[in-house]
């Protein structure tokens, strides 16, 4: 009924290429933003922040980052965990070295450092593709985790080998450490997610995004048309790692507060983010949100239903979670390779015709 473009005429190319061409979509988007920034910070409590909202926001940033690389540029990466670790350790070193600098700057710089490391490990992509590239990035994953475990400089020679986030603030509001209020950590991550999503959207709708997608769809034709493959692939690795690095920094500093690298940023993390991208939808910003929300919500929901409602043992529910995620991955790969984002698109397509079928 409301969801259609009929009568909503575009008279300029700017209007035509905007992010949400349909009015209803646009308003829905403003409402979501208003609720996220204006309402949730006032009603948030520690449980909501730590169980749902923070992991969702942070994983969404990581998923957007990986989606740029895998979904838009077609370069498979299994090194997400390692790159998140780079972000986390860069942030830790910066936080301890410059205690007076704002956390905003630390997190952005941590992203920058990760971008450089990502470019370095992205160089093999110029020569190898597909499976072989996946293996090369897997090597990055194991190497980076090993590096942060073995070189004491990275964890400031602490006896446990862990890194702990000291208390830091932004404009006098404590963001990290155990005393940080839930609303502040939530808003901090939300700001990063919003900016990252906007940047990702702007890049993917413009020239850069088109060169990435051209490389993904047919690299030889792309090169003959004038896409510089070196520039396209390296820029995809840089932007992707920048986002993943920010996610890693937030994950360590704001969400967990203390990190043991092998446990937190191991290969499981790489797969988790990759699953988010696959379930959410390759090559879709919305899909990154959907995938992150889904995989963060699923264990919480299962626990709610299984443990609290039905009284099952916790370990069975935890295993059930793995089984369901595995089954879903297979189902999505076979039935809907474009993930939740495509289902959403189909639903919107139907909604445009509703209530008349033609």
């Amino acid at each position: 009924m409301f969801y259609r473009e009929a009568g909503d005429f575009k008279v300029s190319y700017v209007d035509d290429s905007q992010t949400f061409p349909i009015k209803f979509d646009r308003y829905r988007y403003y409402v979501v933003l208003a609720v996220a920034f204006g309402i949730i910070p006032f009603i948030i409590n520690d449980y909501w922040a730590n169980a749902l909202l923070l992991p969702f926001l942070i994983y969404a940033i990581a998923a957007i980052g990986l989606n740029i690389l895998v979904g838009y540029c077609g370069q498979v990466s299994l090194g997400t965990g390692g790159f998140m670790a780079v972000g986390a350790y860069a942030c830790y070193k910066l936080m301890t070295a410059f205690p007076d600098v704002s956390m905003f700057i630390h997190v952005v710089l941590a992203g920058g450092v990760t971008a450089l490391v990502g470019v370095l490990f992205g160089l093999p992509s110029l020569r190898i593709k597909g499976f072989y590239l996946a293996v090369a990035t897997l090597a990055a994953q194991f190497f980076l985790v090993w590096l942060f475990n073995r070189v004491p400089w990275f964890y400031n020679y602490s006896a446990s080998g862990q890194i702990n986030a000291p208390e830091r603030d932004v404009f006098g509001i404590i963001i990290t450490g155990p005393n940080a209020p839930a609303w502040a950590t939530y808003l901090f991550c939300l700001i990063f997610l919003t900016v990252c999503a906007l940047i990702a959207r702007n890049l993917t709708r413009g020239t850069t995004g088109r060169s990435w997608m051209a490389i993904r769809d047919m690299d030889i034709a792309a090169e003959i048309i004038g896409v510089n493959p070196l520039k396209a692939k390296i820029s995809a690795f840089a932007v992707s790692s920048f986002f993943v690095g920010i996610a890693g920094a937030l994950f360590f500093a704001v969400y967990l507060g203390a990190v043991e690298v092998g446990e937190v940023f191991g290969i499981q993390k790489s797969f988790l983010v990759l699953f988010m991208v696959i379930i959410g939808g390759l090559g879709s910003i919305f899909g990154s949100f959907a995938g992150a929300a889904f995989l963060v919500l699923l264990p919480v929901l299962l626990k709610l239903i299984g443990v609290d409602l039905l009284g099952w043992p916790t370990d069975i529910v935890a295993h059930l979670n793995l089984v369901i995620v595995g089954a879903l991955i297979i189902m999505f790969l076979i039935l809907e390779p474009h993930g939740l984002a495509q289902l959403w698109r189909v639903a919107k397509e139907k909604l445009r015709l509703w209530p008349f079928p033609h």
Binding site: T207, T208, R216, I224, G226
Partner: protein
């Protein structure tokens, strides 16, 4: 033979200029296989130049040499009066050479509009930070190029499928979108690799009309490979004939048609 700077006038009265691209003694080998053997020919400004020959004659390899995808072992490529050093295909594209492919090479995951916009890459000057910010330079550039692209979409009559993903289009339209993508680059030299392969008569007529219109309206120099002799003889101003990697004929369609070597290559020759 004509001098390289002086032009000539075609039968239908179009003026053809000097040499745009000259291939000098090109030899291309893949291991022991000689794909192209000592071929020289030129392409003049504003003309429609056809390369024909039986299967495996080396026509597509020739086009790949021109577009920089293969680097010949011997010989020189001259473009606009200067010798071209070996360069990557995207650098060749920057010089103003665009092409279409024998097997459609569109970006299947993107819409028609995005595909054609990709053809404008060489005109995009903003850096990634400006694009990330979007407002201002990047948006202005996007709109400016969109206008150029819309003209081509108009010209090729594909307005109705502008926002359709390419993967949903039928074959004939895909070919047309590919032409649009090549035209979007406003090339000085347009290479068409079998633009009419697998089309029915009606689609062939459409495509022929578009090729003539492109040449006529934009003054684009065109080099094309085609198997349909009727089409080739009608469209082209001059024809190069290749067989087994060698040039066996070069001239106007009429000259080529009466060339004994060409007739032998196409019809076969008795060996008794």
């Amino acid at each position: 033979m004509l001098d390289s700077t002086e032009g000539y006038v075609t039968e239908d009265g179009r003026k053809i200029g000097g040499v745009v691209m000259e291939m000098k003694n090109i030899t291309l080998r893949f291991g022991g296989v000689v794909a192209i053997k000592d071929i020289s020919f030129d392409i003049r400004e504003g003309e429609i130049r056809a390369i024909i020959g039986p299967n495996g004659a080396g026509k597509s390899s020739m086009l790949n040499v021109i577009s920089g995808f293969y680097v010949p072992q011997e010989g020189e490529v001259w473009f606009h009066g200067s010798k071209r050093p070996p360069m990557r295909p995207y650098e060749v594209a920057r010089q103003g050479i665009a092409r279409t492919f024998q097997n459609i090479a569109l970006f299947e995951g993107m819409s028609v509009l995005d595909n054609v916009m990709t053809g404008r890459l060489n005109y995009m000057k903003t850096n990634m930070f400006q694009q990330a910010w979007w407002k201002g330079k990047a948006e202005a550039e996007e709109v400016e190029n969109r206008e150029a692209v819309e003209k081509i979409i108009d010209f090729l009559e594909i307005q109705h499928i502008r926002k359709t993903p390419v993967s949903r289009l039928p074959y004939g339209l895909k070919k047309r979108v590919e032409l649009a993508r090549a035209l979007a680059a406003e090339p000085k030299l347009l290479l068409l690799d079998e633009p009419m392969a697998g089309m029915n008569v009606e689609e062939k007529e459409d495509m022929s009309r578009f090729i003539l219109d492109v040449n006529d309206e934009f003054g684009t120099t065109i080099a094309l490979i085609e198997h349909d002799m009727g089409v080739v003889m009608d469209l082209s101003d001059r024809v190069v004939v290749m067989d087994y990697g060698k040039k066996i004929g070069d001239g106007t369609p009429d000259e080529v048609r009466s060339n004994q070597d060409v007739i032998d290559a196409y019809l076969g020759v008795s060996h008794d």
